[in-house]
Subunit: 327 residues, 2 copies
């Protein structure tokens, strides 16, 4: 089997480090691995498959060697500045930032949902927003079967979504990463605000969901909220469907879909929760029940590990898909 030369940009960060862990766990076929970071973190040694690697400072010519695939997990400004150098060298870039996601030439891929899109990549494939990934996994089988007319997202997002700085704010009660104290608090503000009163995070959920489900007719609104939890995003999803449904069929459709685990046994207090899903690669769906306030209304509660399925795992799955498709 062919092996690949792989680069991880942002290797000292939370997502970058988790990508390394997942490459190990999934036994990704790697020949050589190259780790990059900002000047500040360069020189650190990281272990990968029992060997130590020194992290290099990312530079414009970092990709001028035999690299097949690069994971970018160092934020939008790094991707914006350096991804083009990787692409120029023929490296396939899997980018975790939001910067290229809505570019019509860039596939935005969740492997369980729209694997066919990877074929269309012209050098960059974007990894969607964390809350969006877990939501579209749950929504895809429902959209296919019943056609979704309208979605209302309310999120409960963990601080690890902001990386190590978010975890530090929570653990130490600091106000460095967030504009307010997150310890013991709830902050209805993720990413910056736009003129329409929405945060960028909310607009990502709206726009990325439409792009991934390939249906601009779906009407969507979102409220995204940071809560004092370390790992695991939860999303309360309210749906209005085009077609009528039986609840037992919805359960079945969800259970049969790749990547979903239905946890919904109320009499035994079983429903998805962040503490249970941390460390897992699946999307957990529960509290599945009819919304009686509208025709064909459905409520779902969707939880996943935001660093794994919401970021690192999904990126590695995209890479696996690329290999599988022989790209």
């Amino acid at each position: 089997m062919r092996k690949y030369n792989v680069a991880v940009v942002g290797a000292t960060g939370l997502v970058g480090g988790t990508i390394l862990k997942i490459l190990e766990e999934r036994d990704f076929p790697i020949e050589n691995i190259y780790l990059f970071s900002s000047k500040k973190s360069a020189g650190k040694a990281l272990e990968f498959r029992g060997r130590e690697y020194v992290v290099e400072e990312l530079k414009e010519d970092s990709f001028a060697r035999d690299i097949d695939l690069a994971f970018f997990a160092a934020g939008g400004s790094v991707s914006e500045r350096y991804a083009k150098y990787a692409v120029k060298e023929g490296v396939m870039v899997i980018d975790n930032s939001s910067i290229f996601r809505m570019d019509k030439d860039v596939p935005l891929v969740v492997p369980e949902v729209n694997p066919e899109e990877v074929e269309k990549g012209k050098g960059i494939i974007s990894n969607p927003n964390c809350s969006t990934i877990q939501s579209v996994v749950a929504l895809k089988p429902i959209h296919d079967r019943y056609k979704i007319k309208r979605i209302i997202f309310s999120t409960y997002q963990a601080v690890s979504g902001s990386g190590l700085a978010g975890l530090r704010d929570l653990e130490e009660g600091l106000v460095e990463c967030y504009p307010h104290k997150i310890q013991g608090n709830v902050i209805p503000h993720i990413d910056s605000f736009l003129d329409n009163g929405y945060s960028k995070e909310e607009m990502k959920m709206i726009e990325e969901t439409r792009k991934i489900l390939k249906d601009d007719s779906i009407r969507i609104t979102a409220t995204t909220v940071r809560i004092p939890v370390k790992y695991g995003h939860s999303v309360s999803i309210n749906l209005e469907l085009e077609k009528p449904f039986q609840l037992e069929d919805v359960y079945k459709v969800l259970e049969e879909f790749e990547g979903i685990i239905v946890k919904d046994d109320l009499s035994n207090n079983i429903y998805p929760m962040p503490l249970d899903v941390a460390g897992s690669d699946e999307v957990y769906v529960g509290r599945i029940r009819r919304d009686y306030s509208v025709e064909n209304g459905l409520n779902l509660w969707v939880v996943a590990d935001n660093i794994r399925k919401g970021a690192a795992t999904n990126a590695v799955q995209i890479a696996e898909l690329l290999i599988y498709k022989g790209k």
Copy 2:
């Protein structure tokens, strides 16, 4: 001015203790105060207005003395068993439990919203559910002006809503009050579950909102969720209104309503948060923005201190209203 003989049932609990504090703060006209609890907590001494009072065990004949008004804050089973003895003795009962709320002969009162209802009391007035109180304060001026067609509630509820036991589970990482660890977790389960897949807490929000706003035509769904925060419930409210609106008018309508403070200045990172509202008696509304996914759609973010406005303050305000109306 006339002074009243007042009883507090559940005086050693979180809500009971806060009722005492609020009676002091608001200089409620009290002649004598009587404190009651279960046998377990009886005998404790509590301070009120600089004097010590010994808590008595609640018994069937506890109200057979000159008491005008009793606050019940000891849970549904205590109210169910003992409120009738108070009523028989002519005591006006203000009950914090859910047990009588949907009884058509029992007014369910939020003083800013439906003060006229206190007139109809036949001995018991119910204090609504905590999340419902703060929500209906925000919704009342909007319903009056634009008529609400549909509401989708997603809540972010503090552990103090479960009293001292909830706080202990969070602080000490226990699994005693809740079926799962709440520390570092999110539990989409408040009160027990019903056959329709909703929790009782969710049905309270649906049914109580309709009763308080006196409009059974409002279509409502709810998802109620416990998060690891001590004080302050947050509610993400999605609305579909009958009439078109201008956002600046919505701001004005909210700002002019008694009991509401609008906190909505995104460029300065100002929006309601639990840490800011703890200790306050107002309902805070922010993130006011159009929901473009439906005609006349509106999103709101509503936060209040669940123990004060969500319970104790509202109960004392009902008592003040009773006095004012000369009941």
